[in-house]
Point group: C2
């Protein structure tokens, strides 16, 4: 096993610095050296010409070399912080519904099919393949309530080489019988079995790509007993397990939550009171949070998954992402299939841009804008950040993925913006000034690109998909 | 030359009937017979089994037969009622701007390049090919101010077989010098030359696919003298020529219009006072119209091109399409490249859906909804209608295109929704109930489809593009 040298244009999101706007760097020519186990061991821009030549001399004998063409660039892989693998067969239908009726009429009937592990196997094979080819290198998956089906999802993701969080939904009330778990205790036991299954697998294969995640679907579908048990389960593991759930997506949902938890002051307070709100919690949607909830989420360092396609599609509302950024909350993007009708983070980026523009249009122009992100449209840099580093923070993996840096894993996309990629919606730009050309390439890719522009998808240094891999 | 028999599933938008919601019909098995000149001469659903068998017997000897597979359907081609051919090289960039600065910094510098007819030729070849492969069978094109470049666009569209309206922009003030026409008179003369060029071409080739259209870019860029001259020019032809322009896209634009036309009561009043508002006028955007403007547009029977992607992207606002439908105004969809970042009407459909959901979210729930479309989300049937029949009405071509009917031209898409089409974002549905399956196929295509799902594009019975035609 040898090192790999990647040589070409690189786009690299930068860590947030509270005193400056979110930004990214472009390197017209950069050498990234990746170790045999997929770690970035060196990264040199050609402008550091002496270092660059020396490294090339030192290492080129034993290394595999990948040289990008002038219409290609490398960027960190996309991180989808919220999607539902079993809902892919419903992609694109049900847009006339709002959340609670959509769950009843569209979603739960589909999820009931996953009682059959063979149906799950067939479906999930196709689902995971599609998600990877859209450039998602890390994915936070909801399964169904079914343990066996979710184990199949784990197997398929492991075989694919994708980095993932995989959880089995917990639901012991307010759902149709064929999705209902018999008791809180049964739900907790099945969850524990899935966690053990994933941990045994990853230990056996010496790979840490798949993480278990506790998945109480949402407060409405879980009895207090179940929420308490899942919180205890998360605590019992060392380090604490991740948790994913939904919060404040839709006003009718918020009202029903209030009826079921009359002793709590808010949706966030429900999760907090059961010990489910912490640094490893991923909260999807967060459309209608009160200021008290924003404060507690910031204080507990939970992360938010912004799902703009779904929030538009199910007429849930528009999440104030700028306000959350100003509050210092960790935030990434989620496709939320099939509430969202598109499995690509590229589409989530476009809809996050539109959502922020809708909010800026609603801002009363006579109120002066404060410094920060609230009520403003999101920049290309911020959109890129949400799709990569922001998502990594939401997953608690910011030291390992989300950007290119020494010691991080090489989770990357090779992007091709020329017409030969075959996407007629992306018109390549002129090559006048190299910095401007690269920034234009990125913007064109984010707003006009599709899977055809993603030539290669790497996770932990391993090529796992992309358009070049399809015959 | 022989007839062609198309046999398979058909989706057909229905004419608006004020007493019923907009709807469409699905025919699981239908025979459409198209004459050698591309006209629909018979259309029989298999449910009319006796007629069907008889027609088949009568005609099958001499006809070419096209049989669709079970995962394909035919639908009318898309009609793009507003786009700018010279702005394709800017697709996907400039999303941080609003209209007036975007024109100055992004658009006008690009359009200046079209002073070179060879640049225009290279660009327009690629543009027209892309638009056709996205399933646009009729397109309303803005060129630049340049006569020669716009003639090249005419030649290229004629060679492609697409149905189109093509206009040369008129601009004699408030634009940078390299886009400015020397005088109102020069602008009018050049426009007349383009009209004659198109009419000579279409007469010579015995084809009526390309229509000239007078294109005062917007009130701001035209002196009163120019607007009056263009109105006279439209009148001078028999029948009256079509006119396309922008209206009330952005609040700063509306304010500038007010400064330039202090004697007029509104944006619509400017066009009306110069005789430019009539049954053949296409008004793009219409985001911020007053009620008096809605009344006058309805009364004069002008049509509106709804451009939701652009309205979001340039933070222009959200056009109240439901209100216009209730007012009985003709309305279709426009991609508005490159204010819009996507040249596909499929994308315009999705953003029209989102725009209507944003409006429904802004509606105060304590005000009861009135019957009709205002403040409600648009249905799949309405979205389909806007993209086809609605667009045909805006173009004044509702007797010829926009749906399948006896005597209309066969402008059609063959759509394929199986995974073999190669679009990983479209997950095919189950085939339980045939009517439900077909309606699901349509919805999946509208929300998840892309150019790969458009196998064939027909205009006037002739195959002019689509994914099956690409090697």
């Amino acid at each position: 096993m040898s090192e790999t040298h990647y040589y070409g244009a690189v786009i690299n999101p930068q860590e947030r610095n509270p005193r400056e706007p979110i930004s990214y760097k472009v390197y017209p020519a950069c050498l990234i050296i990746v170790s045999p186990v997929g770690q970035i061991v060196d990264m040199i821009a050609q402008s550091d010409i002496v270092d660059f030549q020396e490294k090339e001399r030192e290492r080129c004998d034993e290394a595999v070399t990948v040289i990008l063409s002038s219409d290609e660039f490398l960027m960190p892989g996309f991180i989808d912080t919220h999607t539902h693998a079993p809902q892919f067969p419903n992609l694109g239908i049900g847009q006339e519904y709002q959340l609670l009726d959509w769950l009843k009429d569209v979603t739960y009937p589909m999820e009931a099919n996953f009682a059959d592990p063979d149906f799950a196997e067939r479906t999930y094979r196709s689902v995971v393949r599609r998600i990877i080819d859209f450039g998602t290198t890390t994915c936070c998956y909801y399964g169904t309530v079914h343990l066996d089906a979710t184990k199949r999802l784990v197997d398929i993701v492991r075989d694919s080489g994708q980095r993932a969080f995989i959880g089995k939904c917990n639901m012991d009330r307010e759902v149709p019988e064929d999705n209902l778990e018999p008791s809180a205790n049964d739900s907790i036991q099945a969850t524990e079995q899935l966690i053990d299954y994933i941990q045994n697998l990853t230990q056996a294969s010496d790979s840490l790509l798949i993480h278990p995640i506790i998945t109480p679907r949402f407060a409405i579908s879980c009895t207090p007993e179940l929420l308490r048990g899942l919180s205890d389960l998360a605590e019992a593991y060392n380090p604490t397990l991740h948790i994913q759930t939904h919060i404040s997506e839709n006003l009718d949902e918020v009202a029903r939550m209030g009826e079921l938890f009359p002793g709590n002051t808010s949706y966030a307070d429900v999760y907090d009171s059961f010990g489910l709100l912490g640094r490893k919690t991923i909260l999807a949607h967060a459309v209608h949070l009160g200021d008290d909830e924003i404060d507690i989420i910031a204080k507990k360092e939970a992360g938010i998954s912004h799902c703009p396609t779904s929030n538009f599609n199910l007429t849930s509302g528009v999440a104030p992402v700028g306000k959350y950024l100003d509050a210092g909350i960790k935030i990434g993007l989620g496709t939320d299939v099939s509430g969202g009708f598109n499995p690509s983070i590229l589409n989530a980026i476009r809809h996050a841009s539109i959502a922020s523009k809708v909010i800026s249009l609603q801002h009363n122009p006579s109120d002066p804008l404060k410094p920060g992100y609230n009520n403003r449209k999101l920049s290309v840099a911020t959109l890129l950040y949400l799709a990569t580093l922001g998502g990594a923070q939401v997953c608690g993996l910011e030291d390992d993925i989300g950007s290119f840096a020494l010691g991080k894993s090489f989770d990357a996309l090779m992007v091709k913006v020329s017409s030969e990629a075959g996407n007629p919606g992306l018109y390549p730009g002129g090559k006048e000034d190299v910095d401007k050309y690269l920034r234009g390439m990125l913007e064109r890719f984010l707003f006009c690109g599709d899977d055809r522009n993603i030539s290669r998808v790497y996770v932990q240094g391993k090529l796992i998909g992309g358009n070049d891999c399809i015959e």
